[in-house]
Amino acid sequence: MRNIVPAVAAAALAIISSPAAAHTGTGLAGGFASGFMHPLSGWDHLLAMISVGLWGAFLGRPLIYLLPVTFPLMMVVGAVAGMFALPMPPVEIGIALSVLVLGGCVAAAFRAPVWLAVTVVATFALFHGYAHGRELPSAADPIGYSTGFVLATGALHVVGIVIGLAADHRHGAIAIRLAGGAIAVLGVVFLVQAAGA
């Protein structure tokens, strides 16, 4: 297994590295690295996706692995809707609500049934996907960009799950619920900003 680590690192570097190109500064921004960084560059996306992982870890099997699959899949549905500019309720409000509700679920230690948790996550994923989908065709390399943002989304879920597994440790559950509460409060801030925009 130790021998695999350098190979994985080399493969990862090969994927994220950009080809050398003349005339930098022309054309449109985009590519795998740009798509990968996109969900990491906005607190609303980042906190919602980490909350999905946190909630999944708290809810346990099967949601610990169903939620991190449901979100990217439904995000793609939303992205396709965005690419074709299909009508959608106000997206920024939906994204802000996702931070508020998902953070709130973690804070309240809400043990939702499988169908409800999947429905909640799938619905909010549509809004996040729609926002990405509106931006996607403008990227210089939409294929690289879309691959990057789906993988970054998955990676953020995994980060949330890893943090969420700390709930098994002493005081871990309280810390995670407090973190969920903080996320929900930020969700209120995002909601106020989105409503005022």
């Binding site: 022309t26 699959v69 403008s138």
Partner: protein
């Protein structure tokens, strides 16, 4: 044709890491992929216009290969894996023929690497994380397959230097 490198690499990951790594008779599947890819690569050069449909087929195959990992084992017979292996190998070979045989290296490296990794993970019974990654591959495949049917995206319009 749009850049096929990522499609070829992810097709290699989906076929090797998921179909071969988690299927029975992995050696047979690898042989079928290699044979089909070779046949595809040595066929007379397809029309340049076949590049985009081949790319769409590659994304579709990624969805099928990754999605099939979520099927129960009894609904995932060896024959299905064999068909996926042959069609994936053939598609990669044809794409390589259109885009330049050098691009097949992406498929071959991804296939080999992901097969080894998935066999190691399967031995450790880490099937669930692999299934989650398979779900992400389905999402990526669906998104990029849709991009191939969008009539035009600003990102693919030539800029003033082209």
């Amino acid at each position: 044709m749009r850049d096929p490198h990522l499609a070829l690499a992810l097709l290699g990951v989906a076929t090797g890491g998921l179909t071969v790594g988690f299927g029975r008779k992995g050696g047979v599947l690898l042989g079928a992929i290699a044979l089909a890819a070779t046949v595809g690569a040595v066929l007379p050069t397809p029309d340049a216009g076949t590049g985009e449909p081949l790319l769409a087929l590659a994304w579709g195959l990624i969805i099928i290969a990754a999605g099939s990992l979520w099927l129960p084992d009894r609904l995932r017979p060896h024959a299905l894996n064999l068909v996926i292996a042959i069609v994936s190998g053939g598609t990669a070979g044809l794409l390589g023929r259109v885009a330049g045989v050098g691009t097949l290296g992406w498929f071959a490296v991804a296939l080999t690497f992901s097969t080894v990794v998935s066999i190691l993970l399967a031995r450790k019974r880490w099937r669930l994380p692999i299934r989650v990654v398979a779900g992400w591959l389905v999402a990526i495949g669906a998104l990029n397959a849709t991009l191939t049917i969008l009539p035009v995206t600003p990102g693919y319009l030539p800029d003033h230097l082209e």
